[in-house]
């Protein structure tokens, strides 16, 4: 029964929400303080439960709890490396966000409302990531987006907030349907709702065409959840809700799509074609989001587009069957992005700091070429070095290719230092940082593979389709990396500025969506036209 312990985490948060709901607005000076204390206390306790759960995993190994329910439906826990890591991540970011909101929302008339739905969302995500059975998984999945919807409409009178929430609502409901469909197919294929049993059977190659169908539905649900092109619209408008909501998205909400694919990795491997589709969508979204991000002058919009891109990268990793790396990505990106949103108020100071040390040294094409060569050399050295030290492990071509993509990114850092106008000391510094980044990346990758070895399937050897995808990814990411490193050389060409305009508008996906959903039509309550 010890494996049921993680259930305490969502239970505590729900209890906190209920207590606040019962006394939301007793005297204005007393209640916010009491509610804020209560909420943070609950979040801290949930975090403690997550830590203990991790301890249980380390001490006793992976396992399932009993099912508290009937006919395969009810509450049960699957505790393994995937769920324990997600529990810890969600509870940690959850605590940070709750603590932040405690002061940030002070004085808001609907502070208690916010806290209740914040705790509700977190509880739903915690239930999701520890799910031992399909019914709980699907219910928690749906509950997450319903609770989030309440937060997106924290200022219900804001038309732009309504617009974003409506987009999200529609996307989410289609995603719910897809996930439910996947659940039905999984039960039909494997005859159980227990996730660990399904995964074990899938790993043995069972499931047949029903499992292939389930994989396709799972992929579709993941694409919708993680704001993949062209369903990313709502994510780029989510700053219509208070800042902590943007950070909360990274506590297993927007990245739940990736979690879904990782959780059902064994099922996904049944359908290589679905994985290839994911790789294509994810890869495209990553590059698309990354390019749009470059054009965004508002800090939260830039961060949101960066999230779109990073979610694309995560989906690409899943599509290449690099599940441990995708999990690493979820953890790394969530921590970074939650911090970036919560500290976005510092953008004024950061932009001002850019100008202080004088003009930026622009690397020439030759400098960039040297940077790429050097970056690949660094990667090779780090790879061989770590290989010689701790063994090469079972490096799949997919993983090597992904490493190469990341090293294209590191080349940009090197290029800045190699610019002719850059002083020698700057060259040394950026080279040093590049080396540190490469070592850190390889080390984290190894840790992720080692930590999830028991829970996640190995990347299968690539077939012709996978090789084609790998080459396509290398080529497209390589080109964009080259373009980004040489940006100052071409970005002011009239043709490039024309492209910039379309990119800055996100290729009009949002405009089309607004047209279809009548986002700019005047509702009965809008009097905005009068005051212009």
């Amino acid at each position: 029964m010890i494996y049921a312990l993680p259930l305490l985490a969502p239970a505590i948060l729900i209890l906190g929400a209920v207590l606040i709901h019962r006394r939301p607005d007793v005297p204005p000076d007393v209640s916010p303080a009491r509610n804020a204390r209560l909420a943070e206390g609950a979040a801290l306790l949930a975090l403690a439960v997550a830590v203990v759960s991790m301890g249980i995993l380390v001490a006793l190994g992976a396992g399932d709890s009993w099912l508290l329910g009937l006919f395969g439906a009810g509450l049960s826990v699957r505790l393994d490396a995937v769920s324990a890591v997600m529990l810890l991540l969600v509870a940690f970011i959850g605590w940070i966000v709750v603590r932040y909101a405690r002061t940030y929302l002070d004085g808001e008339a609907r502070h208690a409302y916010f806290t209740i739905w914040l705790l509700g969302t977190l509880a739903a995500v915690l239930l999701l990531v520890q799910s031992g059975n399909l019914v709980q998984f699907i219910a928690a999945w749906i509950a997450t987006s319903l609770c989030l919807h309440k937060l997106l409409l924290f200022y219900p009178e804001r038309i732009a907030a309504q617009r974003a929430a409506r987009k999200k609502f529609i996307t989410a409901r289609i995603g719910d349907a897809a996930l439910t469909g996947a659940g039905i197919l999984l039960v039909a294929a494997y005859g159980t709702t227990q996730i660990s049993a399904i995964l074990a059977a899938a790993r043995l190659g069972e499931g047949g065409s029903l499992a292939v169908g389930a994989a396709a539905f799972l992929a579709f649900a993941a694409v919708l959840k993680s704001a993949q092109f062209p369903t990313h619209g709502w994510l780029t408008e989510v700053m219509e809700a208070p800042t902590p909501v943007s950070a909360l998205l990274h506590a297993g909400v927007v990245n739940a799509g990736g979690f879904l694919l990782i959780r059902f990795a064994d099922v996904m491997l049944v359908s290589p074609l679905t994985l290839a589709g994911l790789a294509l969508i994810g890869g495209f979204t990553a590059l698309f989001g990354g390019l749009v991000m470059l054009t965004q002058p508002a800090v939260k919009a830039s961060l949101a587009w960066s999230t779109v891109a990073q979610m694309g990268f995560m989906i690409l990793q899943c599509g290449l069957a690099l599940f441990p790396l995708a999990l690493l990505h979820i953890v790394a990106h969530s921590l970074y992005k939650a911090h970036a949103f919560l500290s976005s108020g510092g953008a004024v100071g950061r932009v001002a700091a850019i100008r202080r040390p004088g003009p930026v040294a622009v690397p020439s094409l030759a400098n960039v070429g040297r940077a790429f060569a050097l970056a690949i050399a660094i990667y090779g050295a780090v790879y061989v070095g770590t290989g010689a030290l701790i063994g090469f492990g079972a490096k799949s071509p997919q993983a090597v290719a992904l490493g190469a993509i990341l090293i294209f990114g590191v080349a940009y850092l090197l290029a800045q230092g190699l610019a002719d106008a850059a002083p020698r000391a700057l060259t040394q510094r950026t080279a040093l940082l590049s080396g540190v980044a490469a070592i850190s990346y390889v080390a984290l990758q190894r840790i992720a593979e080692w930590g999830t070895g028991a829970a996640l399937p190995l990347t299968p050897p690539p077939g012709a389709l996978e090789w084609a995808l790998i080459l396509l990814a290398l080529l497209s990411f390589g080109l964009v990396a080259l373009a980004q490193a040489t940006l100052p050389l071409w970005s002011h060409h009239p043709a490039a500025q024309g492209l910039r305009i379309h990119l800055s508008n996100g290729l009009y996906i949002n405009a089309v969506e607004d047209r279809l959903l009548r986002g700019w039509s005047l509702g009965a309550k809008s009097g905005k036209g009068e005051t212009q």
Binding site: A309, H329, A347, P357, N505
Partner: protein, 799 residues
């Protein structure tokens, strides 16, 4: 009708172009947030009365320039406004209800209906059900954010183009309007003439706009663009200060007019006739009615109530100054936040003497910080830089230069890392390699252990070969202006102020306004350095200012969030005993000041101990109240106010008219610090009475754009003014919207003479944007300025 060059404009077109120039000056400037200062939102209306401005705003923005009547009614109810105040306000008003009881009844009545004249966009929205004003705001915002971006986006809009040209390139490619239902907009824009002025004329022709309708219509369109038009106005301000000009504001107007034109063409059958009526309505003069007049009289009554309270405070028993040489002198900025600390400091030790002077301390410095190329204009925005300074002196030694290079290298490495973090493909590498580090950063910031940026460790140096005579002249002028020419203490602190806060887009608004939105440490240290210079002191002695050899001037920085003082001890040699004494009294004063401020701040514990950590909290939207509550400016010797609790609501400027031959110092005070204070006071006023038009919006939704300003959420309009959280604590207003009372202890004819010479300053008082009083040596308010260079004796009232 089409004309190709400026010389060919027809008469009406020239009038329209002139109207666009006038309208450009009707909106207030907005300074970028990197170093922002408070701005009077009614700057363009200072030649008009509050009632006339209220009527104008009603027409162009649909908001009044006063509070809702219920607010005044509540003050009457609470006794803050008495019948005496109502009666006096009625008598002073040209028009209004017949009696006090009628005025009371009017206060209890509901607010009059106010609607702005609709724009074409508003009419089109009504006709089509599509939110055109919202879409226009979003589209112009999308372009403007890119155009004015100071470095947030890595892929920038090509710089160097005019605003109109840049927009034309953008809008002739942007497909959004067509997707939303305005077919052919991009082509329309592409066909517009290259010259903005020609385009403006063309658009006005298409709109059938007569020059007579232009002033309020243009004003309305520019105001509707929110902060973008105001940011453009600031570019114009800067250009004019440098002796030039820029068309950027009227370019924005032209852009907005092209939208109007396109929508009129699209919806002409439905809205054409109504639009013609609106044009006619714009031609009519702005009319005043009871809707504006009654609240303005009530506003005056509320201010009279506050003046009564101020008069009582000034007459209350003060503290007598200790005889003999002061143990410590400390000069602070006139900023209202200094008042609390000064009072506390004097309370700790009666031998301490404090002074108030504008926080740039008379040095209009253009400063370069350590390892920085950026010229920081640390001076009031009304002025141009007079001296330049740098954190590294021209004759720096090898160690200094090495440190300088190392700091620059670190900054450049950090910048390269920042670009690595934000670029398209490298951001993936960044996340995968360093993401887990952010667990630590989240923990650090959640627990509030990150420190706000500290003041520079290195003393600033004046640059260029300033001749000794110039230095002596400057030092002498500043000391005279501070009324500090004798009785020097052994240690004289020159204390600038700043606010140590984190994660706050509006951090610069908490810094020193007289230092251009930077903290005041540089100017304070420069002045202290100047006054410690032995040669300068010899020159001062010739001028009749004898600074004792044992007197040391020392720069300091008052952190207004934590009420702690940093002494720049390394800048000058001070004896250990004196230094220890100074540290002790300053620390004790900090405790008192925090305790007093804690009473007003939400979530502060009673003794104010949490205030020290407040600036480090990344989730804090109210780190301090800044100048909220400011309501008085007092220019008099400190002895008149010493020991009298003004609760951080008064600007205190030391001034002794008996030592001011020719009233040159008084002229300086009335034309510079008083004007700056009026900008601050009226910014608070505007942000409270018209938060949607002149307020900075909701901090919870703030999204920093271009490193220069904030928008709410995903929204298009840049916000100017103070955020709602800066004037409201969630339950009640933290600032009573009352216009400022300026109290001057000086002879009547001296003040009148200065007003006579400075029409701009006089307009502020004649139109009651501030109230002006004369005080006497007892602190009593003895005369009220009643406009047109006349005074009303108040001694009879008091008796």
């Amino acid at each position: 009708m089409k004309v190709q060059n400026h010389a060919g404009f027809s008469g009406p077109h020239l009038e329209l172009i002139a109207a666009s120039e006038t309208a450009s000056r009707a909106v207030p400037p907005l300074w970028p947030l990197a170093s922002s200062v408070a701005v009077n939102p009614f700057l363009g209306q200072s030649g008009q009365s509050l009632a006339a401005t209220s009527a104008l705003l009603s027409r162009v923005a649909g908001v009044p320039a006063t509070m809702p009547r219920a607010w005044y009614a509540a003050r009457i109810e609470s006794g803050a406004i008495t019948d005496v105040d109502l009666d006096a306000a009625l008598k002073a008003a040209a028009d209004g209800p017949d009696s006090v009881s009628a005025l009371r009844a009017a206060a209890a009545a509901p607010d009059g209906e106010i609607t702005a004249l609709p724009t074409v966009a508003a009419l089109a929205a009504r006709a089509s059900g599509i939110d055109w004003p919202g879409l226009i705001e979003e589209r112009i915002g999308a372009w403007a954010a890119g155009y004015f971006d100071e470095g947030q986006a890595l892929w920038q809009v090509t710089p160097g183009r005019g605003a109109y040209q840049s927009w034309q390139i953008f809008a002739s490619r942007d497909l959004t309007p067509e997707i939303a239902g305005l077919a052919g907009f991009a082509a329309t824009v592409a066909r517009m003439p290259d010259s903005a002025r020609t385009a403006l004329s063309e658009a006005c022709d298409a709109l059938g706009l007569a020059p007579g309708a232009a002033p309020t219509y243009f004003h309305q369109l520019l105001l509707g663009l929110g902060g973008w038009a105001q940011l453009a106005r600031q570019k114009l301000w800067e250009a004019e200060l440098a002796g030039g000009t820029t068309p950027v504001t009227s370019d924005l107007l032209t852009i907005r007019l092209i939208w109007e034109k396109a929508l009129l063409l699209r919806y002409a059958p439905q809205i054409g006739a109504e639009w013609a009526e609106i044009c006619a309505a714009h031609t009519a003069p702005v009319a005043l009615s009871d809707v504006q007049i009654v609240p303005c009289i009530l506003q005056d009554a509320a201010e009279r109530g506050a003046q009564r309270a101020l008069a009582a405070t000034l007459l209350s028993a003060g503290e007598t100054v200790a005889e003999g040489r002061p143990s410590l002198q400390a000069a602070f900025c006139i900023d209202v936040r200094s008042e609390v600390f000064r009072r506390a400091l004097e309370q700790v030790d009666a031998r301490v003497q404090t002074l108030g002077f504008a926080g740039f301390f008379g040095l209009t410095a253009s400063h370069r910080a350590f390892a920085s190329d950026v010229e920081e204009r640390r001076l009031p925005v009304l002025l141009s830089p007079g001296v330049s300074s740098s954190a590294i002196s021209a004759d720096a030694d090898a160690t200094d230069l090495a440190a300088h290079l190392a700091a620059r290298l670190a900054a450049r490495t950090q910048r390269a890392w920042g670009r690595f973090k934000l670029a398209a493909v490298s951001s993936f590498a960044f996340v995968e390699a360093t993401g887990p580090v952010y667990a630590g950063k989240l923990l650090r910031d959640a627990l509030g252990t990150a420190q706000p940026p500290a003041p520079g460790a290195r003393a600033p140096h004046l640059e260029g070969d300033l001749p000794l005579e110039a230095k002596v002249a400057a030092a002498s002028k500043i000391l005279h202006a501070m009324s500090l020419t004798d009785a020097f203490a052994p240690l004289v602190l020159i204390a600038g102020h700043g606010a140590g806060v984190v994660n706050n887009p509006h951090a610069s608004a908490l810094q020193c306004g007289a230092c251009g939105g930077y903290s005041g440490d540089v100017n304070a240290r420069l002045l202290a350095g100047l006054l410690n210079d032995a040669e300068v002191r010899r020159g001062l002695a010739v001028d009749g200012i004898d600074v004792p050899p044992d007197t040391v001037f020392l720069g300091a920085l008052h952190d207004t969030t934590s009420d702690t003082i940093t002494l720049f001890e390394g800048d000058a040699r001070v004896s250990d005993g004196t230094l220890r004494y100074a540290r002790d009294v300053l620390a004790a004063a900090g405790v008192l000041a925090r305790g007093e401020r804690a009473l007003r701040l939400p979530r502060a514990n009673a003794d104010g101990a949490t205030l020290v950590a407040r600036g480090r909290d990344w989730s804090e939207t109210r780190p301090e109240w800044a100048l909220a509550g400011c309501c008085a400016f007092i220019a008099a010797p400190r002895s008149r106010t010493r020991g009298k609790a003004l609760y951080g609501r008064a600007f205190l400027h030391d001034y002794d008219w008996t030592r001011d031959e020719g009233y040159g110092v008084l002229e300086l005070i009335l034309t510079a610090p008083v004007v700056v204070a009026s900008w601050i006071s009226l910014q608070y006023y505007g942000s409270v009475v018209a938060p949607d038009v002149f307020g900075g919006g909701n901090k919870l939704l703030h999204n920093v754009t271009g490193g220069i300003g904030v928008v709410e959420g995903n929204g298009g309009a840049l916000r100017s003014g103070l955020p709602w959280q800066s004037v409201h604590d969630g339950h009640a207003l933290a600032h009573d919207p009352l216009r400022m009372n300026v109290c001057i202890e000086a002879p009547e004819e001296a003040v009148t003479g200065i007003l006579e010479r400075h029409a701009d300053v006089r307009a502020l008082f004649d139109n009651r944007w501030m109230h002006l009083f004369l005080t006497d040596a007892s602190g009593a308010m003895i005369a009220r300025y009643s406009g047109d260079l006349t005074w009303e004796d108040m001694r009879a009232e008091a008796a």
